[in-house]
């Protein structure tokens, strides 16, 4: 049984303009010890699907359908066995404990008026019920050492503004690791950082995955980051997963025109005279998403059927699946 199984998740938001269908029926699973990349542009629903999983949707957000089974337990609010309050209590218990999250912007995630030690010990006190000050201090030092922060004793007394961006991100990772989570969700963990720091942070995430055997979901829009870390990749577009496969299947045998478009519009500095082929147009409006394939308006191979009906899933291998009428009809 997989560590996490998401089946047909549908999430929408009520707004003044109408219902925004952010996530429109996605299914995927994550095994222990594996890094799964979720790639998509802003507004593709990648972050909101994770917030749905964590029970962190804003007030106007609703999970309309689908099941989410984490570690053998159903955690979607509608199907949870128990009352709303019991669900909230359950989610509070697993958040930061068995599932933890690493956010994009370390400055807005850390509390500016608490020192690093207080913030680092909070999950330990709350989830593990450790009260002994000396023990907490020892654990905090150990956590900072694990994420590669030099002179941890001094750092613990400092406040977030005294640390650089890379250091803050390391502190966030230390907090996420504090309770030895079974699953780590990293939402664009390196987007705000320099490439040199990014390389170090990605190495760190891989190392901690190996140490804890945790499953990792890495949300990103950078295909370079995906290539350097992920075992499997889900490509999201317009609230749907349009293609899923191992990293090699996606990068060398990507079938969906969106996947191919993404790969040909990134700068691969290894390529000799590489001509960028941008994808024309912009992503669909999720207030009124197209009835058929979400990519239809930007796709150069679009056919009549693409406009009318969503493409069925075509299985290309045990791991490689694509939702596209072209593959379904055997045209490419």
């Amino acid at each position: 049984m997989s560590l996490l199984e998401i089946n047909n998740l549908v999430t929408s938001f009520k707004t003044e303009q109408g219902k925004v269908q952010a996530v429109r029926g996605i299914s995927f699973s994550v095994e222990a010890g594996e890094i799964v990349g979720v790639v998509g542009e802003s507004g593709s629903g990648k972050s909101q699907s994770m917030y749905s999983l964590m029970g962190l949707l804003s007030d106007n957000g609703v999970i309309e359908d689908g099941s989410m089974i984490f570690d053998g337990h159903e955690i979607s609010p509608a199907k949870f066995e128990g009352t709303q309050t019991e669900w909230e209590k359950y989610m509070e218990d697993i958040r930061g404990n068995t599932i933890s999250m690493i956010f994009q912007d370390p400055m807005s995630f850390l509390n500016p008026v608490l020192n690093i030690e207080k913030q680092l010990c909070e999950p330990l006190i709350y989830h593990k019920n450790i009260k002994d000050k000396a023990e907490l201090h020892k654990m905090a030092v150990e956590l900072l050492t694990q994420v590669g922060i030099p002179s941890p004793e001094e750092r613990l007394k400092q406040y977030p503004h005294q640390l650089s961006g890379g250091m803050r991100q390391r502190v966030i990772i230390a907090i996420a690791l504090a309770c030895h989570p079974k699953m780590i969700i990293a939402d664009e963990p390196t987007t705000a950082l320099d490439v040199t720091i990014q390389a170090k942070i990605l190495e760190l995430i891989k190392k901690q995955r190996d140490r804890l055997g945790a499953g990792v979901i890495l949300i990103t829009h950078d295909l370079g980051v995906v290539a350097s870390t992920c075992d499997r990749v889900n490509i999201m577009y317009g609230g749907k997963i349009v293609e899923t496969g191992t990293a090699d299947e996606i990068f060398y045998n990507g079938m969906h025109p969106y996947t191919q478009g993404l790969l040909s519009c990134v700068n691969n500095p290894e390529a000799e005279d590489h001509k960028l082929r941008p994808i024309p147009g912009s992503p669909p409006d999720l207030l009124a998403p197209p009835a058929g394939c979400p990519f239809v308006d930007r796709c150069e191979h679009a056919m009549k059927v693409c406009k009318l009906y969503p493409a069925p899933e075509t299985r290309l291998s045990e791991t490689h699946k694509v939702n596209c009428w072209l593959t379904e009809k055997g045209k490419i």
Binding site: E41, S42, S164, G165, G166, M167, D194, V195, T196, I197, Q198, A199, K200, L202, E203, H221, D222, L223, G224, V225, V226, A227, S228, A247, D248, F251, G261, L262, L263, C265, V266, N267, N268, P269, E270, H274, L276, R277, P278, I279, P280, S282
Partner: protein, 324 residues
């Protein structure tokens, strides 16, 4: 260089910082003795980690900041001495595109007003009518629709907003544009659109760019030459293909080896990054070579003498490893 449109000559830009009123006045050395030239119709890329002074250098070139020492020459004229009509002409010909398309457009002006404003200020074209026509032309050039003219910035996506700010920049027929991270706030599929647009208008209007970015992939794609900057100084300048294939300075090497390549097999073979620590504070720049505290090849001489840029092959590099 024969036809340099811009010449940066030993520029230093320092900012005074006071920690307390009794403390000795300290200077943050954002740009510390930088020299380079940009040719006509050339794109010069500038890369480096955040805090290395690349944006300050860009702003010094368009005279948002005045250099503490050194001079910037535009078409042979010292921009620090420009006054009156000459300064106005410089302001018209040298433009800037900013990183954040959400912050750089006035939310209370329509797209038409935003693009027309620079033309109004510089009294270009005879009548308002002609300016309006020019606005429609510009919208077409950057790939927006004519009916967008009456809309407000919030109605547009990030990529479209960046197109609006490019149209505003082009309104004055600039000859030199400083692009300060113009694509880093955009989605990947949109980044390529903007890069292609910048290349297209460069060819059509014969513009030179200073392209500042931390994404080396994009910089290599668009630039003919690249300068790598570390703690306020240029450590290496080279032809972009040469700099990418044969980096000389240990910092350039480290920076290049940190770029993630969208190719899983290449990434699996790659060794861990050989660069420890973080960029030191520009308030307290290490003596000698600024990079020596993180350099895997540091020697005793690196702490004593600041290396000067010297020519090695077709590149210029500031490193004692290449001392003759």
């Amino acid at each position: 260089m024969q036809n340099a449109i811009l010449k940066v000559d030993h520029v230093k830009t320092y900012f005074p910082v006071s920690t307390s009123i009794f403390a000795k006045k300290q200077y943050l050395k954002a740009v510390n003795d930088v020299s380079f030239e940009v040719g006509e119709h050339e794109t010069f890329g500038l890369v480096g980690e955040s805090g290395c002074g690349k944006s300050t250098l860009g702003r010094t070139i368009v005279r948002i900041y005045d250099p503490t020492e050194g001079k910037v020459f535009y078409k042979g004229q010292d921009i620090g001495r420009l006054k009156g009509d000459e300064l106005k002409k410089f302001r018209k010909e040298v433009q800037m595109i900013f990183q954040d398309p959400y912050a750089s457009l006035n939310a209370r002006m329509t797209v038409g007003e935003i693009i027309r404003e620079p033309m109004d200020i510089h009294h270009l074209y005879g009548s308002k009518q002609e300016r309006e026509e020019r606005v429609s032309q510009l919208l077409e050039t950057v790939g927006l629709k004519p009916d967008h003219i009456r809309r407000y910035p919030h109605e547009f996506s990030g990529g479209q907003r960046q197109r609006i700010s490019i149209a505003r920049t082009l309104a004055l027929d600039p000859k030199f544009i400083v692009c300060d991270e113009p694509i880093s706030a955009l989605d990947v599929s949109i980044q390529a659109q903007i890069i292609n647009l910048l290349e297209k208008i460069q060819d059509e209007m014969n513009i030179s760019y200073l392209f500042i970015a931390h994404d080396l992939g994009a910089v290599k794609h668009i630039s003919q030459r690249i300068g790598a900057m570390y703690l306020g100084s240029l450590v290496e300048i080279g032809e972009s293909e040469e700099l990418y294939r044969n980096p000389l300075h240990p910092y350039t090497k480290a920076l290049l080896s940190a770029i993630p390549i969208p190719d899983p097999q290449v990434m699996r073979k790659r060794a861990a990054l050989d660069l420890d620590g973080e960029i030191p504070s520009p308030l307290n720049v290490p003596t000698g070579c600024a990079f020596r505290t993180r350099c895997p090849k540091a020697m005793p001489v690196c702490a004593e003498v600041k290396p000067e840029l010297q020519t090695v092959g077709t590149s210029q590099v500031a490193c004692h490893l290449y001392a003759k």
